[in-house]
């Protein structure tokens, strides 16, 4: 009786050690690499927008291709904070526009993508002083997440494994 119990425990432990742990370790590692790759791609995309001064359909498509090549599905959010009026303008003789004083209004993903579609050059122009923020979250469940769910449940809103955010101020006016 004792021997069978020990044997069962031994087989159970052996299976965990030989299959589950390596799988968990490798998939965690894979997720970290994917996170770094997506972060780099996002940073590159935002820098391109900031230096060109516009969001083009080609850039966006290339960006989506690159992050989808990592094997996960993603949810990409774009936000543009556009420099608007300066309500704090003090007198006529001092400067009218100041980055940091003018208020901004935001436009989000759907508006931007629709504007790109309607534009004949397939681009959305920005001007100096606007902010562009891009954030990427993964929407599928990766292997590491599945294994972890099996062991313990993570409760809370941070259920996405791969997150990348990057923002920058636009430094050139798009034509």
């Amino acid at each position: 009786m004792g021997e069978t119990t020990i044997t069962i425990i031994a087989i159970f432990l052996a299976s965990i050690l030989m299959f589950v742990f390596p799988l968990m370790a490798v998939s965690n590692q894979h997720d970290e690499v994917v996170q770094l790759a997506v972060q780099t791609e996002t940073a590159e995309f935002v820098d391109k927008i900031a230096t060109k001064g516009k969001v083009t359909q080609t850039d966006y498509d290339v960006f989506l291709e690159k992050i989808l090549a990592t094997g996960n599905t993603y949810d990409v959010e774009l936000e543009v904070q556009i420099l608007d009026e300066n309500p704090g303008k003090k007198t006529i003789t001092t400067s009218p526009n100041l980055i940091g004083e003018n208020v901004r209004y935001s436009e989000y993903t759907t508006t931007i993508l629709n504007a790109i579609k309607d534009n004949p050059n397939k681009e959305y122009s920005l001007k100096k002083g606007d902010y562009i923020i891009v954030s990427v979250k993964n929407t599928n469940i990766t292997i590491a997440q599945m294994l972890r769910d099996f062991a313990y449940k993570i409760v809370g809103k941070d259920v996405s494994q791969v997150n990348a955010t990057y923002s920058s101020m636009v430094i050139n006016n798009g034509q």
Partner: protein, 521 residues
């Protein structure tokens, strides 16, 4: 016991231990990753703040940024940009932006002749009447009391912490044993106040040990301007032009251009200044006349349409005359008592190894550190997290003293096993606050053989004229863009840039002297 049993028991003990220590190590790794990410985000936000400052003062609002009021506004706008940028990077938006400011114990802006500190200060809440104006009783303001109601005793008032921009502090020191105060700046300009030879004197100027003989110069650049069209419309319409004109600096350092062609509608012959992108011609009478200082120290009137207009600029000559005079005065009055003020060949104020320079950097470092220490520790005394001032390294101080800089601190964010505590420094390279001696570009006017501008390099550039690097930034007029100088960068000079000025000593010193003279007036 059988071997398998021992193995199983061993595994049953070891695996939980490994799991726990693995978890702990991964927590450490996450802490380091998060710290690295915050470092990057903080330094990005700081760089954007200084970029906004450059764009605001150099490109957009050229004419107004020297007024004192405008400077405070520029700095507050730049700080606002830092907050927005940091909040965007951390994905916090909207009204929660201000929440991130509670983790920033102070921001220091080091400018040419002093610094500003932006930090939280205790402010007592005033009691306001129904119009929103402070409630006065017997001529004294009333505060909201801690025990409810109002009081006019500030000690019992309810206080809040708000970030405010503190008043400007200059880099000063009091000389030992006297009441003489010296204000230092980032280059060799100083201001001295105090009792010298029994009477109270105030004198300022550049100190230099270089006595270089320089010549007058012929300066010119492209400018864009607009003229009203003749047809009356509402809003008014303009015609835009871009042309090249000669200019000189007047006694307050403003560029005065000379129009000798009279080609387009609305042009005349004569001296003019640019006012809101329109030409404003100087008249013979009244306060519209401007003056420039000629080589013999006399003031020459720039007015009307002098047919024999003297188009030469004498600022470089004036700089050396005045600087040498002032240096002689400083040497005679103070050089004997204080060895760092004895200016001569060995103690050249522009040399980083001279006694004067070392003493000046000590004073500036001490002034900034004390200001920051005081701001951070007074905030720390009243909050739950113990804010500490990080020690800035030597390279950081060198960067700060190189040009206009911003130093930001971020403390108190919880990351894994500890709290985040770091700072970031960003330095501006193109601004109107400071004439950077390493950023003077040389061009030859109207030479078709050489379309490039040079720094100090191996090209043969004797006889070239040097201009400040902010005169090469793109400007816009109407819907067009133009460059004040059409030259492009010389490849050799950018790639093999060294700060060796031996070959172009006269040209370099002339340009530097002229820019400094115009800047200080």
């Amino acid at each position: 016991m059988k071997l398998q049993n021992l193995i199983v028991i061993f595994l049953l003990i070891i695996i939980p231990i490994l799991l726990v220590s693995g978890y702990y190590i991964s927590l450490q790794i996450k802490t380091m990753t998060l710290q690295n990410q915050y470092n990057i985000k903080l330094s990005d936000a700081t760089k954007e703040a200084i970029e906004a400052f450059e764009i605001n003062t150099v490109e957009w609002n050229n004419e107004y940024s020297n007024i004192a009021d405008s400077k405070r506004r520029d700095i507050e706008a730049s700080i606002n940009t830092f907050t927005t940028s940091l909040a965007n990077n951390l994905k916090i938006s909207g009204s929660r932006k201000q929440a991130i400011m509670s983790y920033v114990p102070s921001i220091a802006y080091t400018l040419y002749d002093g610094y500003y500190i932006y930090s939280p200060t205790e402010i007592a809440k005033l009691s306001l009447d129904e119009r929103g104006v402070a409630d006065l009783q017997d001529g004294k303001v009333r505060y909201i009391s801690k025990n409810g109601g109002t009081t006019d005793n500030r000690e019992n008032a309810v206080t809040t912490y708000e970030h405010i921009l503190k008043p400007f502090v200059e880099y000063t020191e009091i000389l030992e044993g006297t009441d003489i105060i010296i204000n230092y700046t980032l280059d060799n300009y100083i201001k001295i106040y105090g009792t010298i030879d029994g009477e109270y004197q105030v004198k300022e100027g550049y100190v230099t040990s270089i006595n270089q003989s320089v010549n007058s110069e012929n300066l010119s650049e492209n400018i864009g301007y607009k003229n009203l069209t003749n047809s009356p419309t509402d809003p008014p319409t303009y015609n835009y032009y871009i042309k090249n004109y000669n200019y000189v600096y007047d006694t307050i350092g403003e560029k005065v251009y000379y129009d000798n062609i009279n080609e387009t509608d609305g042009d005349k012959i004569g001296w003019f200044i640019l006012n809101n992108q329109q030409k404003s011609y100087l008249s013979k009478t009244g306060d519209a006349t401007k003056w420039k200082k000629a080589a013999d120290g006399n003031l020459q009137n720039l007015n009307g349409s002098n047919i024999n207009a003297d188009l030469f600029d004498y600022s470089a000559i004036n700089y050396y005359i005045e600087a040498n005079n002032f240096t002689r005065w400083v040497n005679s009055k103070l050089g004997s008592d204080f060895d760092f003020l004895e200016i001569n060949e060995e103690n050249n104020p522009e040399d980083k190894n001279s006694k004067f320079y070392k003493h000046k950097t000590e004073v500036i470092k001490k002034s900034i550190s004390e200001g920051l220490n005081q701001a951070i520790s007074s905030y720390s005394a009243k909050s739950t997290y113990n804010y500490k001032m990080p020690v800035l390294k030597e390279e950081d101080w060198e960067q700060v003293l190189n040009n206009v800089s911003i130093i930001t601190f971020l403390q108190g964010l919880p990351i894994g096993t500890k709290y985040y505590n770091n700072y970031a420094i960003a330095t501006s390279t193109r601004n109107k606050e400071y004439v950077n001696p390493n950023e003077i570009y040389f061009i030859k006017e109207n030479d078709d053989n050489d379309d490039y501008y040079h720094k100090s390099c191996n090209c043969n550039i004797s006889g070239y004229t040097g201009y400040n690097n902010i005169d090469f930034i793109i400007k816009n007029i109407g819907e067009n863009y133009y460059y004040p100088h059409n030259q492009l960068a010389c490849y050799d000079c950018i790639i093999n840039s060294n700060n060796n000025i031996d070959k172009i000593k006269v040209e370099y010193l002339t340009a530097l002297a002229r820019e400094r003279y115009a800047f200080s007036h």
